[in-house]
Assembly symmetry: C2
Homo-oligomer: 270 residues x 2
Amino acid sequence: MKEEFFIKRINSKHIGDDGAFIDGKVYASDSFFEDIHFKREWFELDEISYKASLVNLSDLIVMNAKPKYALIDIGFPKSLSLHEIKLLASGFNKAAKEFGYEIIGGDTIKNEKIAISMTFIGESKRPVFRKAKLNEYVAFTGDLGSVDRDLKTLLRGGKIPKTSKFITPKLRDEFFYKASKYITSACDISDGLFKELERISNISNVGYEFLKKIPKNMGCSGEEYEILFTFPKRNLSIISNLAKLTKTKITVFAVTKRGKYKSICKENHF
Amino acid sequence: MKEEFFIKRINSKHIGDDGAFIDGKVYASDSFFEDIHFKREWFELDEISYKASLVNLSDLIVMNAKPKYALIDIGFPKSLSLHEIKLLASGFNKAAKEFGYEIIGGDTIKNEKIAISMTFIGESKRPVFRKAKLNEYVAFTGDLGSVDRDLKTLLRGGKIPKTSKFITPKLRDEFFYKASKYITSACDISDGLFKELERISNISNVGYEFLKKIPKNMGCSGEEYEILFTFPKRNLSIISNLAKLTKTKITVFAVTKRGKYKSICKENHF
């Protein structure tokens, strides 16, 4: 994959997690581009800027970092009306208010298409990385599969419900901030469960013994923004209780073991 | 201007300077997009990533901040060869090595055109803002006008020298880091001297008495990445000495006074 080739050419020891943890701070950056991540007709303008914020926040949450500051680099076409620009700004402001961070800068340029890149600075006393241990339970939050199904519907020209997680990811901040101290490793499911399992396998030198069969339509569904995480078996009851307390569905589906795991999904990337 | 309308709709008290200064750190973000800021045929690929880095570093330098970390969000076409991707990465690495910062993350996506957004985190014990005082000297570094002239040559299909500041901005870090303690306000000249004078006028409630006439081809030339700065008159000799020491040309051309200043240049932005 060409993007992985580029990343390997960049000299950095921090790249590999959802964000970089340095001196108590977590730095994370994600892009959200028209015709790459979304089509204009699928979203209201405030939904675009809100989702751009959420996909970035997702990276911070899975590292157990609280967002403090954000910078927004945005390109948008001259043809947008002032009302439309107001909508675009309101999605950014809505997320900042809800998650309690401040927008401190960025850059605004004219561009044919809407192109958003955000950088977040968060704080964490106890960051969670992608390094799992042997003989741990492996679990994910929520239900998987709906995002890929909804995306396919949109690509066929169909309609999807306003509540679709493709439009508005459902972040699991309440559960994860409480549960993180009982969790060994985590990442958000942006490229599909199986692909994220492969990443954790590579970083941690573990394979998986599946306790439940995960069908391909669930395991290969990207942009779910649910959380994949591993934890010591002894923490099962406390984690189950925290899930209940925060009304978060979790599915324990595997145990880490010696070995290596490779995703069977077709790569979405180039 | 629509970009200013967008910025006004974003709730932030930090926006307005080249970067945001918070707790000893400076955060700055800038985009560098194909067909907005450059055409592919004008640059080698490593020159593109190197310039993208320099225009960001420029923001940190004028605030007297030393760059520590950078995040790179980059989109590039699938059609780039591995050799071309290597070149692209090498420009980022070159700037990081020269200016002593670490690339800690980012996002890589497929995009029709090259689209780079970078965020820098710097450190400053004594940041310089855009707020000038009355009766101060106003000066700029280097020579102005060549960038606009070279850009026009390129737009006409002509050739420009490899040493053009349009290809590789000449940052004044050595001079500015030494001189900053004698300087009241500064900004980099990204949108032309006259436009930057207008910004400092608005922020500082000052006008200018010109000691030298600045022709329009100098005052309206954007992307110069020279530094506009003001300082107390008593600091003239020390600043002149530091300029000589660092082989940096400076031109003292005005004095701040009561009033308001408006740029006479045509707006480049939308």
